[in-house]
């Protein structure tokens, strides 16, 4: 890790002033669960690290007069999970529970999770986000890479596990920069697919800081997420899907379907969502949504299996949102305690 200057601002404006300084390559430190790894591997070598954890107002979760939930950029996944707010955000709750690492939950932040850098092993070994305009991925081992939105140079997948769930909930982010300048973006608009070296996977410019994620009141909107993981816990899922559904008397009135780990951005499965509208929620409509979600998929040499996984993830997310059995391993009853289970004590 290269030496760096460490700054601990007390206010939002101090923070953005530090971040906007053109003479320094500055980065934001919140939980540090991703940043530190990237710095240790010299994937990023900042001159200045700006710790935002001490900024008053960023450690809080609160509800405004419209019922929207505001989560500050220093709020940990665990604080969010343990707050009463996630009870109305089933998809987000399921995702954080699925991270299943006490360390990551306690140390990682909600906003930091949304802004994690891609796990693409070519990126993480210093070849840049595009890794030779995508050639390294195409010719290399791409088992975890994109199946959607991958027709140009970017082949990595957006790593955020929470983003699909929060996008499905209609979340916004609040972004500030020096001069009391603030803007609000729909969460999905925070992300972009870079096509040239130097571009990143989000639209933030130097000096900008995401201070909050704002999640509108869900009222009776249904939601669920479904991650297909190779093993439990903190490792990247293979694919995921999150859905937000407004239904009336069993018929879908409005739906959002967002895919994770399949494209350089959290992927809005617009067709699948639109075609759910007017349909009842059942195995058949859920299956159809899954098939439609991957209609435009273009597998690389080693990741065709992700197409099937994505279909299944969408199907199961829809079924889960509707409170129906989704048929996976998690629905299995635990093994009955046979007479000798557990260590034999002698």
């Amino acid at each position: 890790m290269k030496n760096f200057e460490y700054a601990q601002p007390r206010t939002e404006q101090e923070a953005v002033a530090l971040l906007a300084d053109q003479s320094k390559h500055s980065v934001v430190l919140a939980g540090g669960t991703d940043l530190i790894s990237l710095m240790k591997r010299s994937v990023i070598t900042p001159d200045r690290v700006v710790n935002i954890a001490e900024i008053s107002g960023l450690q809080r979760i609160q509800r405004d007069e419209h019922g929207s939930i505001w989560v500050g950029a220093a709020v940990s996944l665990q604080s969010f999970l343990e707050s009463s707010y996630t009870t109305e955000l089933a998809a987000a709750q399921q995702i954080i529970q699925g991270i299943a690492s006490l360390q990551l939950q306690a140390q990682g932040t909600v906003v930091g999770e949304l802004l994690r850098r891609p796990m693409c092993w070519y990126f993480r070994s210093g070849h840049g986000l595009l890794a030779q305009q995508g050639r390294m991925v195409v010719e290399g081992d791409n088992r975890y890479h994109a199946i959607l939105g991958n027709r140009r140079s970017a082949k990595f997948v957006n790593p955020s596990r929470l983003a699909p769930a929060l996008i499905a909930a209609g979340a916004f982010v609040r972004i500030i920069k020096p001069g009391n300048d603030e803007r609000f973006l729909e969460l999905e608009s925070l992300y972009q697919t870079p096509d040239q070296d130097g571009q990143t996977e989000n639209v933030l410019t130097q000096g900008e800081l995401v201070t909050h994620v704002m999640i509108p009141a869900q009222r009776d909107r249904l939601s669920a997420a479904y991650e297909i993981r190779h093993g439990e816990g903190p490792d990247q899922p293979l694919v995921s899907a999150a859905v937000g559904i407004q239904a009336e008397r069993g018929i879908v009135r409005e739906a959002t379907v967002v895919l994770g780990q399949v494209a350089p951005i959290p992927w809005m499965a617009v067709e699948a969502a639109r075609n759910l509208v007017g349909q009842p929620l059942n195995e058949q409509t859920a299956t159809t949504a899954g098939i439609e979600a991957v209609a435009g998929a273009l597998p690389l040499s080693g990741n065709e299996y992700k197409i099937q996984l994505t279909q299944v993830a969408v199907k199961r997310a829809v079924l889960r949102a509707a409170g129906l059995e989704c048929g996976g391993l998690e629905c299995q009853p635990p093994l009955e305690q046979d007479h000798h289970s557990g260590p034999l004590m002698v």
Partner: protein, 743 residues
């Protein structure tokens, strides 16, 4: 003094041996106060970081260190696998090979120094497709790796005028033609890498011309030789210390070239030097396990007993081009007629090193899967096929032990209740369940070991032995043997291990440690006790033969009521402590230790047929190990081994980039390992009938790490009715296998 009769106490007299005892150093380890090599920091030390080659195969033409030398804090730069200014290029055959080492005042400066080293590479063709025999042949990357044929004696011999090979082919063909069942299959298991939580490395310093080394090692007593040889000094000028080690598993026997480099840098700079590998370097260059892929044809009689086996296997051990040893094919089972051949593949990877039970897990996984496929083909219970084939195994005397172990394991996993013909289980949602078996063997022979035992006149007892505690509880086991022999409590004896200045004890590899240290400690303790008893006998005016050390006292068994406390007894020793040196030499027949164990494991899995995810519901291990010293740590060994088996069966895999050969998943974020939620319910049964127990101590490190993978693979096959040919059984591979089966 009469000659000491080395033996274990009778079962009913054992007060410590066989009991469940917490590790004596458990609190230090779990509380973080135990000092591992990585925790050793010496005053004024330099930190070293190595520059790893980013290419799998290349020539290093030139290395320019001038910019690196200018980095503030960089003190010295050492060339490892790099040419000097006028040298020929150096060929690199593995991603991560260390080129130069940068020593600096702190880690940041060392890392920055590494980033400033400029290297000119000439890329060469990289080949890492170890699973692809055809491609390896086309690229000239194969090497013969042995093999041969053995035919049932009853089949006769070729006539004088017959070509031997033609005759053999004819006989093999005849055996297959007359078999009731023939199975052909392909199986494989990928290379996995050591990923010791504490990476390899050392902290060293020179004191008055002597090298003091803190080394993360499984080989305290002999690592000094490694340093001495490389540094052209004698071993008496090297002291190696290793109090705790964060994982070795066969990869930490040597100082390695980075350890030697630390010593050289320390010599040049006159300062202590700490050189530990980074995480990705640890996975790339510190050790891996060879891969194995096999084509098998077997023929069985109507009963499912395999009578003929024919196989070709290949795989890689890295750039030295070997594979899984052919002698273990097929594993444990030994049909009367078999032909086996092996081909090594030269890939641009680090050579493999020993990995817990070298060769056995892979041999088991690529051959006992074929036996299970025989059961699938016949539509009969796999357990019956395994039992019936015990009539042809390579250690026939073990057949009854395996049979009994299989019976116990089947009971523990409720085999008869849960088993169903392959692929015919009940589906719940998308999920099917299945059961599988694997059986294994291991020698576990005690290594050589010496113990210096001191008994002080105040009753204090201390032992010195150049062994090491890999985390498995060696200190505790030594203390239990001493306490048992002297009739004391564990806190009344002090065990000193982990230094090459102590009497020699063999490396901890191959399940040899518990046998070794219990041999040397029991012998030393019995020797010392005999001397103490002689003194006591004289004092109490009884024969030493009737004296016992028990409950902190020396007691006469003649009901005379004559006794004295341990302290009183020791006061008879005089001013100088009583010192005893006792030895055990590997291979010496002894009533205290033995070798050769059997074991079996069974797995109960659930598989999601839509996602390819595999979940362990329950695993059962039944294992014999002769006399158990510490029941708790013995069980703990087996739990750990089962978890490693789950890791290898479902997760672990070295992934080389198909184009560049680079090891892409060398960070733990990408190198998948099981998490707590992936482990399932593990059941351990220590198999200890008197027939096994009476054999004495046998090592346990390796055997339980062998057949778990196979049991899981067979269970997945039982669930799906489709073989997922290659381990690890990732979701992708499960889905691919299902798709292929559908056609």
């Amino acid at each position: 003094m009469a000659e000491v009769d080395y033996r274990w106490p009778e079962n009913h007299k054992m007060r410590w041996i066989g009991k469940r005892v917490d590790r004596l150093d458990g609190l230090e380890k779990s509380g973080g106060t135990a000092k591992y090599t990585y925790d050793v920091n010496l005053p004024n030390q330099l930190i070293v970081r190595g520059l790893g080659c980013p290419h799998a195969h290349c020539n290093v033409l030139a290395v320019d260190i001038s910019e690196a030398e200018k980095v503030p804090g960089v003190v010295y730069i050492h060339r490892l696998n790099a040419p000097g200014p006028n040298d020929d290029p150096v060929e690199i055959r593995a991603d991560g090979t260390l080129l130069v080492a940068v020593a600096a005042e702190n880690e940041a400066a060392a890392a920055e120094g590494v980033s400033k080293v400029k290297v000119q590479y000439k890329l060469l063709d990289a080949f890492t497709a170890d699973h692809d025999l055809q491609s390896a042949e086309a690229n000239g990357r194969t090497k013969p790796a042995g093999g041969g044929i053995e035919l049932d004696e009853a089949l006769g011999e070729p006539g004088d005028d017959e070509d031997e090979e033609e005759w053999e082919n004819k006989v093999m063909q005849h055996l297959f033609d007359t078999s009731a069942h023939v199975v052909e299959g392909e199986y494989g298991i990928d290379s996995i890498t050591h990923c010791c939580l504490e990476p390899h490395g050392a902290t060293v310093h020179w004191v008055d011309g002597k090298l003091k080394v803190y080394l993360s090692t499984q080989n305290v007593s002999q690592a000094d030789d490694g340093f001495a040889g490389a540094l052209e000094i004698t071993a008496d000028d090297v002291d190696v210390t290793c109090d705790y080690i964060g994982g070795g598993f066969g990869s930490k026997f040597q100082p390695n070239y980075w350890g030697i480099a630390a010593a050289e840098i320390s010599k040049v700079t006159g300062r202590p030097v700490k050189f530990m590998l980074t995480r990705d370097q640890e996975l790339k260059i510190a050790g891996n396990r060879p891969s194995g892929y096999i084509k098998v044809k077997l023929g069985a009689d109507a009963n499912g007993v395999v009578r003929v086996w024919d196989s070709l296997h290949w795989g890689t051990s890295g750039f030295n081009g070997s594979t899984v040893a052919v002698g273990n094919i097929p594993y444990v089972f030994r049909p009367k007629s078999f032909r086996r051949k092996a081909t090594g593949i030269v890939t641009d990877n680090e050579p493999s090193v020993a990995w817990r039970a070298p060769n056995h897990p892979q041999a088991c996984a690529i051959t006992q899967t074929a036996y299970d496929d025989l059961a699938a083909k016949m539509g009969v219970d796999s357990l019956d096929i395994f039992l019936r084939n015990l009539e042809n195994i390579d250690t026939p005397e073990k057949a009854p032990v395996y049979a009994e172990q299989l019976r116990i394991a089947a009971d523990l996993i409720n085999w008869r209740k849960h088993w169903h013909p392959h692929g015919k289980g009940k589906k719940s949602g998308a999920v099917v369940e299945g059961l599988g078996i694997g059986i294994h063997k291991w020698a576990g022979t005690a290594n050589s070991s010496n113990c210096l035992l001191k008994i002080h006149a105040d009753g204090g007892v201390e032992s010195y032995c150049g062994t090491q505690d890999l985390g498995t509880g060696t200190r505790t086991v030594c203390a239990m043997v001493l306490a048992e022999t002297f009739g004391l409590t564990l806190d009344e004896v002090k065990v000193n291990i982990g230094s090459s200045t102590y009497p020699f004890s063999g490396a901890s590899g191959g399940s040899t440690t518990v046998g070794a240290v219990t041999e040397s400690h029991r012998r030393a303790a019995q020797d010392a006790l005999a001397k103490v008893l002689d003194l006591v006998a004289k004092k109490l005016d009884v024969s030493a033969d009737i004296l016992d050390a028990v409950g902190g006292k020396i007691v006469a068994r003649d009901y005379s009521g004559k006794e004295m406390t341990w302290k009183q007894a020791c006061s008879l020793i005089g001013i100088q402590p009583l010192e005893v040196n006792s030895s055990y030499a590997r291979g010496t027949a002894s009533p205290l230790s033995s070798e050769n164990v059997a074991g079996c494991q069974m797995a109960h899995v659930a598989v999601d047929t839509e996602t390819g995810q595999v979940k362990i519901k329950r695993m059962v291990a039944v294992q014999d190990m002769g006399l158990i010293i510490n029941r708790k740590t013995a069980e703990s060994q087996i739990y750990g081994a089962m978890i490693m088996s789950i890791a290898a069966a479902l997760f672990e895999q070295r992934i080389n980039d198909p184009k560049t050969g680079v090891f892409v998943n060398s960070e733990l974020a990408d190198y998948r390992l099981p998490r707590l939620g992936d482990i399932g319910n593990l059941v351990v049964h220590l198999h200890e009938p008197e027939s096994e127990r009476a054999r004495g101590v046998i090592g346990l490190g390796e055997p339980p790490a062998i057949s778990g993978c196979t049991a899981i693979s067979n269970a997945v096959c039982n669930a799906l009715g489709v073989r997922v040919p290659t381990i690890p059984l990732t979701p992708k591979r499960v889905l691919d296998a299902l798709r292929t089966a559908k056609g």
